[in-house]
Symmetry: C2
Subunit: 399 residues, 2 copies
Amino acid sequence: MDPTTTLRALLICLLILPAALPAQEALFSRQEIVSPEIHEDKSVTFRFQAPHADSVQITGDFLPTVKMQTPYGEMDVPGKASLVRDENGVWSFQSEALAPELYTYAFIVDGLRATDPNNPFLIRDVASVTNLFIIPGERADLYRVQDIPHGTVARRWYDSPGLGMDRRLTIYTPPGYEASREKYPVLYLLHGAGGDEEAWIELGRTAQIMDNLIAQGKAKPMIVVMPNGNVIQDAAPGQGSRGFYKPAFMIPRTMDGTYEAHFMDIVNFVEANYRVKKNQKARAIAGLSMGGFHTMHISRYHPNTFDYMGLFSAAIMPREDATAAVYDRIDETLKAQMDNGYALYWIAIGKSDFLYPANVAFRKKLDEMGMPYTYRESEGGHIWRNWRIYLSEFVPMLF
Amino acid sequence: MDPTTTLRALLICLLILPAALPAQEALFSRQEIVSPEIHEDKSVTFRFQAPHADSVQITGDFLPTVKMQTPYGEMDVPGKASLVRDENGVWSFQSEALAPELYTYAFIVDGLRATDPNNPFLIRDVASVTNLFIIPGERADLYRVQDIPHGTVARRWYDSPGLGMDRRLTIYTPPGYEASREKYPVLYLLHGAGGDEEAWIELGRTAQIMDNLIAQGKAKPMIVVMPNGNVIQDAAPGQGSRGFYKPAFMIPRTMDGTYEAHFMDIVNFVEANYRVKKNQKARAIAGLSMGGFHTMHISRYHPNTFDYMGLFSAAIMPREDATAAVYDRIDETLKAQMDNGYALYWIAIGKSDFLYPANVAFRKKLDEMGMPYTYRESEGGHIWRNWRIYLSEFVPMLF
């Protein structure tokens, strides 16, 4: 085959294959739209082709927040900006120069939310899907894939005798794990309500953060286990035997103590199947929101098991009059955990987090008990930006 | 904490957390829309809320195809159907009863393509993102996650000395692999132009097909390696050091022989790092479109290496006057491959595939040489539906 024929064949492929996909009807006339376009000065232009629309707006966490009234009080939510239409029906908006960060956004076209058809990178948070982009530099470089050694990310199923089913988890093994004879420490990293075993690896950029911190010598090589904390699911929506269904935020039995009671099924699986150190000093557990609640309870249910606890925006609301089963013997078991000793009990929360008062109350309880912890207060609220930051700060303190 | 307090806390989470996501402004007033809704009789209702739209259509591979004129002739593309608006501004369309299959679709709102905001399950094909759903039954049950033993899917990086970089691949190890002492055979499964190491696992449902065929006793437990065939990429768009960018269909140097010349980097990595049988009888290679072209060339470049070849809708256009470097010594090496012997040379293509004539010419060449092959002709064209079917048929013939 001569080069001309090769080229012609490739052109046929180029022109015909996309036409077989749904709705590519504008294939031969459309203009190529770039969105988002990140400029040299770190401002970003977003574009959306909609000749017949009356209004196109953008919303995203790079815009200043606005106050919103809710039944539970005033909340900060991402603001909006209006795009301007050009003569070809392409709407655009250029942001200010943005600080390095991973950002998410969506368009609002005539009042309806829409993803950016020119940006195929999407991220699911519970049932919402948004586009994402990264402004490089500073801490955002921890979230990027760099040209450094990379760990392996596996989705693997394990048997949970306690829950009576095979369940799926995500596991990060550090660069060199497979070829090494060394034994590694393990961080168990737990998601929040509405999340699953995909949350930390996708929204949390765990593999990128670990690869980068390890390459920089700031974190020890470790295994990170990201299990599914919804005890009625075998796997994330779409990945389990229930098939495709709309993910829900409230899932039965996630905070009733069942997960905590059977968490050792996961630890036992990991310790039987990976080359890991099997002692308290080599085990850490951390989680965000509901995962912080799980972390608090799991670590006191099993007080000789974990040396490092990370409570990120934890959904802990201890009360003296607690009657829910998960809170049984809380004072006694926290005291046992304290007496047994641990390396780090780390509590992090944002100043505007709706769980801030609950964390104040929890710290007060620990203070009264004399139970040691390290406290980290950040800006912002109950958002993934903070959880990526907390993970990046927590991991260097481990092992 | 008493149960009422727990409930109130969960309600706060439910109401406030989604409000922190972009564009959830209708949080407290919106109605819950179910889309797609799969009915008992296997018809499907699609719904889209758009009170201000003038027209809402749907396109997808469950609709009858229509003819479309292209510069290269008439093509079959998915048709469209119109949704009907109700008094609340919710548009809907109910399909006919659908045959069991994995289907993809998108909406067209006032002429603009839009994904379904009520279906968070999306799939990327090159730069296009569509929603998906599965009608269960028959062969579609191979594409579903069933309550059976599951293999492990890992994204892992390997060193390619030939290409001078670390590269990412996806690898499926069958249920029981980790605990076994057995050695396994390996299928190398290659993507098409515009694809990458995510294509077969996501669009091809490889893990589900393998789990199901193995559980049914129809396929032997095997390892499936899904590498990246774009030699200028270290990983899929968004997963490599180039970061996020719009995936392209035409990528330089994908069909110039470079990948074929260095393919043993992948085989060597797998055989050094996994418990596999290291002989020709335990190696298979298959690919779709460009991956079929790669399969044909790789298997003749390395004629003592693979015992099973699968060319799915292969982009092979051999010419007697071939001058492109990848075609060097084609007759000689094909003859060497034939003389050396193999278990299976499987060629599959759809009747309306634009590569059908090229495959006729290739089979004619093989016939003239006396080179044995098995031929499978299906309905349809150059589409993922066929590639999932071909994989499901090819795998049971292996090892």
